[in-house]
Amino acid sequence: MDEKNDKQLRIVGFLCNWCSYGGADTAGVCRFKQPPLLRIIRIPCTGRMDPLFVVKALAQGADGVLVSGCHPKDCHYAVGNFYARRRLELVKRFLPFVGLDPRRFHYTWVSASEGQRWQQVVSEFSAVIQELGPNPGFGQDAVTENAPQAVSSQGGAGDTERCISPRSL
Amino acid sequence: MKRTVAYYPGCSLEGLAEEYDRSTRAVCRALGLELVEIPDWNCCGSTPAHGYTPLLSAALAGRNLALAEDAGLDVVMTPCPGCLKALKGSLEKYREDPACFQDALGRSFDGRVRVVSILQLLLERIGPEALAQAVRHPLTGANVVPYYGCLLTRPASFAQFDDPENPVSMDRILEAIGCTVPDFPFKTECCGATYGVTRNPIVTGLTGRILDMAVRVGAAAVAVACPLCQQNLDLRQQQVEKANHRSFRLPVLYITQLVGLALGLAPEDLGLDKLFVSPESLLSRIDQASDTADSLSNAG
């Protein structure tokens, strides 16, 4: 069994230690069944969450990225999630611009006592990822010849229909 | 401030409650509020329609709102709390799902209008201070209890006007026109509503309890703002007396009739003659009080 070369879909979870990691534990203690896609990375606070982690994970082919922290106003560090939600929302809105599917990234707030809510979050997000299938990532294969002729500002290729060269605008 | 208001009288005000209609129009005219009757209005559907499904009620009531919108009016006033509930419910249904609402209505609708009761209109557009200033014959010497009935302020989330358990809007109007307002614990107790026809003993029981409390707190009259309540308290007072083996003879006036009296409007413009329990006892008390006041001021 080689875990790297199978068709299993994977969600990378970044969970704050105080609320959501505890919420995931609570769900486990309560035996709330969840799909097996999620792999959790424990971080102290969603404030630790650099949006680059999200971009890098999706570029590398993680099928989904789930970030979860304490509910706003309940942050163990008082304000970490206030900063986090700005950064995460920004990256969520940015992803589609570079062709990464924003549906593959979800962020939410789950407290340590909300085992049931955690089960729901994981189940729903897993269903979304199952539906989307494997993530091709960014630049997974060498750039192929049949990539769409969306054209650069380097002149010369402005002859195709899909030309969106900024210069042509 | 825009003074023109769309007027939805409702079916009762064309029939048994015609004096409510008459006094409402007279009072508004006297206070400079222009009422424009919604052209070709229809029945709001009342409880029977709502009982079928809230959407039917919303659509029936909604036709009137749409007509008001067509007439370019943005505030609809109805004196009847039953109609008020139906009209407000209609707006709520519209906001929930505009498309579904318009399907049921069978026409387009913008939902711009606001619906208010006569009490809300008097308090918001005129206000107690201005009302008091407009009074020509203050109703001093009259103990009048305000009876709101159940629908005017309930449920609070829906009415969004006055306190659901201890409303004071009618109290403030009564005070403004010079009445003495005793604490009346049964302001919002139900009078039996439509069961006057189908289950008469219920009404005689409930209404009897309300009249009894009014007498206990020393009321010379009851002020109401609902045609159905008025019917049960006034028209059916004889039935109530018979069932309870006691005599009340307590006049039950629409708030607009009382305001009209204070404004000095003619009794016939207020339809005082249409009341079943004669308001004579109340009127004489008021006259006495004002005579006393007059003679005192003359003496001084």
Partner: protein, 191 residues
């Protein structure tokens, strides 16, 4: 227990989907009721009900569909909203009662047929004229219930005051109104 039933075989008479259906159609979370009794304490009609309001809620929770739909209380509720206003669980009890009436009609289990009849005549009047014709409504009700003397004692004084309309008000848009009513009333059985 009223209605002469002192033994309720809960499972035998249980309709498992009933709570869910009532909740869906009324939009109210009846299952959250914890039986404080405030609805019954506040209701002006508890004394004429066969089941007080809190017991209606309880019967719904237990899925006792037939007992609920056949009861008289749901028809005697006057929609005065006292229960709704005071429910600590924010349940619109009056709305639940109204929903149960509709379900009772659908199930053909109406206990208080005359009240239902009054409502039907009311709507018929609206559909016919656009507004309610009080005199006609009363006459039709009296005729169909076979209680010709209902409120007859009031007739003389009403006549004396000139308050009894003898002809209905017909509005111009009555066809529109009739169309609205028909959209629902005709569609009623399927709903």
């Amino acid at each position: 227990m009223k209605n002469g039933q002192n033994l309720l075989r809960i499972q035998e008479s249980r309709d498992a989907g009933f709570v869910e259906r009532v909740e869906r159609e009324s939009g109210q979370r009846v299952s959250q009721c914890y039986q404080c009794g405030n609805c019954s304490a506040s209701c002006a009609y508890t004394h004429v009900y066969d089941f007080p309001a809190n017991q209606i809620m309880r019967l719904i929770q237990l899925g006792q569909r037939d007992m609920v739909l056949r009861c008289r209380s749901i028809w005697l509720c006057a929609q005065c909203q006292a229960c709704t206003t005071r429910c600590p669980c924010n349940i619109d009890v009056a709305r639940v009662m109204e929903t149960l009436r509709v379900m009772a009609v659908e199930a053909g289990q109406v206990s208080e047929k005359d009240i239902r009849l009054f409502y039907d005549e009311f709507l018929k009047s609206v559909a016919a004229f656009g507004r309610v014709f009080e005199t006609g409504l009363l006459a039709a009700y009296n005729l169909k219930t076979g209680k010709p003397l209902t409120d007859a004692d009031l007739a003389p004084q009403v006549l004396r005051k000139g308050k009894l309309a003898l002809m209905p008000q017909r509005i111009r848009g009555r066809k529109e109104v009739a169309a609205i009513v028909r959209r629902f009333v005709d569609a009623q059985p399927q709903r």
